[in-house]
Symmetry: C7
Amino acid sequence: MANIRRLVLDVLKPHTPTLVDLAVQLADLEGIEGVDISLKEMDQKVENVKITCEGENINFEQVERVIMENGASIHSLDKVSAGASIIEEVTTQQD
Amino acid sequence: MANIRRLVLDVLKPHTPTLVDLAVQLADLEGIEGVDISLKEMDQKVENVKITCEGENINFEQVERVIMENGASIHSLDKVSAGASIIEEVTTQQD
Amino acid sequence: MANIRRLVLDVLKPHTPTLVDLAVQLADLEGIEGVDISLKEMDQKVENVKITCEGENINFEQVERVIMENGASIHSLDKVSAGASIIEEVTTQQD
Amino acid sequence: MANIRRLVLDVLKPHTPTLVDLAVQLADLEGIEGVDISLKEMDQKVENVKITCEGENINFEQVERVIMENGASIHSLDKVSAGASIIEEVTTQQD
Amino acid sequence: MANIRRLVLDVLKPHTPTLVDLAVQLADLEGIEGVDISLKEMDQKVENVKITCEGENINFEQVERVIMENGASIHSLDKVSAGASIIEEVTTQQD
Amino acid sequence: MANIRRLVLDVLKPHTPTLVDLAVQLADLEGIEGVDISLKEMDQKVENVKITCEGENINFEQVERVIMENGASIHSLDKVSAGASIIEEVTTQQD
Amino acid sequence: MANIRRLVLDVLKPHTPTLVDLAVQLADLEGIEGVDISLKEMDQKVENVKITCEGENINFEQVERVIMENGASIHSLDKVSAGASIIEEVTTQQD
């Protein structure tokens, strides 16, 4: 079965754990090479963050579990790459 | 006959299967090197996604079949590359 | 005589043949290395597409013939490169 | 004397010769490596095109002659590069 | 545990220490390869700066301490990268 | 003394000499590797052009003299690079 | 102590010395590899310029002194890089 190579997630999280803690936990998962977390919006209770994970063979269920165990929830799964190589989305006349 | 090297499709799909499942199924097809699926819009019933496939020799009928077997439909075929190399669309004064 | 290296065409075509079929037919022509077809607009009868062809030695008459044999017509020839190398259009203060 | 390495011309031409014919004629000139012609505007009588020529040693008079012999005229000379290398215009705070 | 590879911080600081002093102090921390500080806004009392740190193994607590010991405070942690490689955030259709 | 490596000048010139002649004259100066002249605006009497010169060791006085001997004048000196390497201006939050 | 690798300064200067003179003086300082000066605005008395300096080990006090000895003043210090490598500021969702 083809490997998952990249995931981009829109996530709502409480202030704790911090972006640093969550990034380290995700980067610790097997099959993940690197994680980027960017803050989109923040209010008194929650932070809306964008998470990008890349790796040779990402296990989506493990990513989901780490997010939920930290009291956060996936608002949407915005982008997935699968296969032997990560290919980039191509701009078209319809974009 | 020249090979199909890249396809960009605008697809309407139900929430299940997820982007992850659909990307893996497409990346499993012979002749496909990688697949990117990006979420464009989502409502209660359907998701509008943009699918980019690249490979040495893509079989369009197989791509179509995987999409339809998952209860999804191709809204439009937005871009196709064929030939010995993938060439990029060039911006012109008419764009 | 200098070779034609790249062509960009604005074409009106019926829904059949598909972008895939037309791209493969063009990429099959001698002297063409790769073809990209992008959908610009589509209505019930026709599709307006942008076709980019690259190669060592493109025969414009053959490209024209393939397009016409498929019931399509060239609305405009938007860009041509000729010579030993493909050179890129340069942005100026007048653009 | 320093060589001319790149020229960008804004040209008005009749529909005949085509962009293809004009590009090939210019690319045939000695000292020209490649030619790009882009369509800017077109009406019933004339086409306004942007011509970019690159080469080791471009002879401007020959370029001018080919354009005029085809019934076209140079509306403006928008960019010239001369010297041992082609250097690119640099964006400044005044642009 | 996965390493922190990049941090982007939005910081409020007094005019002293200068951007130069603060950048040097942060770049002196173990595990930091380079620091960029950019001025966003400045009024009579404070400066709002954006700090980017990159390295093999950044210690967030040490970064925090240096910032606080200089009388500055972290307004928000805008971006974190962790893992074996620094991966870049990918633009999606939702951005 | 450090060498001048790049100059960008905003120049007003009469229609004669042409951009081609002026570019060749400047590129002929010792220490200049290449010259780019771009047309910004043109009216019946004058042309406003942007001149970029690059080289190992540009003599500004000679550049100035060539411009003036051709009946042109420097409206402003928009950019200068000096030193062992050409470094690029960096975009900041203040731009 | 970590080295300063890049500085971007917003400076007000009289018309004399010219951008050329000031760039050469700064590029002559030890530890500076290259200098770029760009004109932002100019009126009858002063010029507002943006100065970028890069090098292995920039001495900020010397840069400051050269600027002041020329009758100019630093309006703001817009960007500083320090450390073993020059790292680039990263765009975030907050920019």
